[in-house]
């Protein structure tokens, strides 16, 4: 493994945990996969589909998201929205995130 690959792997691992929080935070309004992807990328978090779609399915199976197929513009789309369980968990996740940020700030100086 080259240094670059190791760097990429480490960055991916760092981002992996953040992505869940980012996705949950953006789904208080229903979004379909592609619109969510654009919404996140507009705010600076560029994900590829291979990361986002499986994550959405996983969060749904964990009960943090709900999804529905809706037909519009002649095309069915799957809309995701945060579930009551997810809504309940989000503030606690935010709190933990803030704690991590200030802890790491202190650690990295």
């Amino acid at each position: 493994m080259t240094t670059n690959e190791m760097y990429d792997n480490t960055i991916n691992e760092l981002r992996r945990g953040v992505i869940v929080l980012a996705v949950l935070s953006q789904l208080d309004e229903a979004q379909y996969g592609y619109s969510l992807l654009k919404l996140l990328s507009d705010q600076g978090l560029a994900l590829d589909q291979g990361t986002l779609y499986p994550l959405l399915r996983r969060l749904e199976s964990q009960g943090l998201l709900k999804s529905d197929w809706k037909i519009e513009e002649s095309r069915p789309r799957r809309y995701y929205i945060i579930s009551p369980e997810g809504q309940e968990m989000l503030p606690r996740l935010k709190e933990e995130w803030n704690r991590i940020v200030s802890m790491m700030d202190g650690m990295l100086g």
């Binding site: 379909y32 592609y34 589909q49 779609y53 996983r58 095309r75 789309r77 799957r78």
Partner: protein, 333 residues
Amino acid sequence: MNLIERYVTEVGKYLPRRSRADIEAELRSTLEDMLEDRSQQAHRPVDEAMVTALLEEYGSPKKVAASYGHAQYLIGPRLYPTFMLVLQIVAFAVVLGLTIATAIAFVKTNMTPPEVLKTLGEFALNLLGGLIQAFGNVVLVFAILERVLPPSELEDKETWTPAELIKEPHPDEVKIGEMIAGIVFTMAFLLVFNFYPEIVGIWLTDNGALTQAAGLSEAFFRYLPFINISGLLTIALYIYLLRNRFWTAATRWTHIAIELIGIAIAYSMLQGPSLLKLFPMSTNTELQATLTQIFDRMVPFILLLVIILSGIEIVKTLVRLVRPAKTSLPFQK
């Protein structure tokens, strides 16, 4: 558009059937959304070059399917350590068995140097074949276990405390290693007697060639269906026990019933005609006669041993039924 359909179908091939249609539908709608977006940005209608570029970017179907993270294990990480342990035991048994058989052939016959070389060559070939076959059988058993055992099994130790390290095992708890070893050996036994019964018997070197001096008689095969039933029942019971982790009155009675079937088979074998038959040999006939006599006496001895061991198992199981364990279940608070 045809290309997108093909792409979606190709991705679907690598997805588990359960979620395939759903993932395919979502992928199709995403690709169409992306195409629409690109077409608007490029101010031209969707064309094949655009589709090709998009699919290339989206990645190979295999990679896309893999991103959905359905790890497809033949033998997963939770069973792997036990699998390796059983594999080592079985491999050791194969090597030991074949080495002893070859050593006996060396001692019993006076071989010329070319014959020695030939026997050694056959030993190497048999060893290779035996090891591959043993490996295949163990893999088969564990691949089945991987699919039969519920996902939480063997890893739901949430309430684990260091106290468990020194605690006596709960008397009703199923010993996983024992069950798995039982399944592997019962399967190996059934496979040999059903599919390779011709290798069972006494082997001698006849004029330098390894020849079978005695094998299983017709009488044996009349018992085979009953042996199979009892073996399959044993495997079924052990798998059930592995899933449930604790013995219950019902499983103990089933265990007793299966042991009784075993005793009945062994008893009627004892009463019936010889289970061995002789094969004609050109030389070594004297040795053949002596060995067969010894084995003919050994068979009843083995059958008696089976009856006694089964009897002990039944008594042990009955004791457990009469005197239920007093301690609380180790995983209950």
